[in-house]
Subunit: 134 residues, 2 copies
């Protein structure tokens, strides 16, 4: 999947995020890879294009994206947090053997028992051994 600069700028503007060089590159990476990267992953990918890049800028960027609702922060019982550009409801499976993270479908009515509760974030994370590691 490939996104033009104009598409990336539009994506950010629609979500009330001023486009900047760093933000466009982070967004592009998230959209074109969709690999639930850590801050370190993102940093290493972009440092080659922006040699003065600071890790703090990546932290600032993903936190801004999170506040604006265009990424979800994943806490998968690892040391580092991960970021997911896919904000539609889905589950994550982490293979403890190969480390891969798989998306899986989840019924929309999960948690419907919470009547009267306002839910604005749903984390569904499974752990185990994936089919390729058996």
């Amino acid at each position: 999947m490939h996104f033009t600069n104009d598409e990336l700028i539009e994506y950010l503007r629609k979500n009330n995020i001023r486009p900047s060089n760093i933000r466009l590159k982070v967004l592009k990476y998230l959209l074109e890879n969709r690999n639930h990267p850590t801050v370190e992953d993102i940093y290493h990918h972009i440092i080659h294009e922006i040699p003065t890049l600071s890790r703090t800028s990546i932290y600032n960027t993903v936190n801004l994206f999170k506040d604006r609702g265009i990424v979800n922060e994943l806490s998968l019982n690892e040391k580092e947090l991960r970021y997911d550009i896919n904000t539609r409801l889905h589950g994550h499976f982490k293979c403890e053997s190969c480390g891969n993270i798989y998306d899986f479908q989840v019924a929309e009515n999960i948690g419907d028992g919470l009547k009267g509760f306002v839910v604005y974030k749903k984390d569904i994370n499974f752990y185990g051994i994936c089919i390729n590691c058996q």
Copy 2:
């Protein structure tokens, strides 16, 4: 709910955990309160009964309980981890207003799409505003 010492000892022995004073007190606290406490919560509750108690002992104990499968570790996007003596499948709802953590039912067949995957941990955590804080 109240547990006798003999019941607590039996509970640990059945799960291959040598009973000790600290372990019995931690287990008793988890069973009788069921409030998803942090290490700090547990420590503060027991320090009155064991003045020489060390935080490390609480860390050791909850990690041992986790390894033996009698508690689940909850990562609810807080600084601290929490521990839940109820290891049956259920979801957690964290109210961002009052901080309360609610259990809720979850269909047993959630994640059945993961055919061929061995799942040994299921985390289902929701965040929002509870019915009492609206």
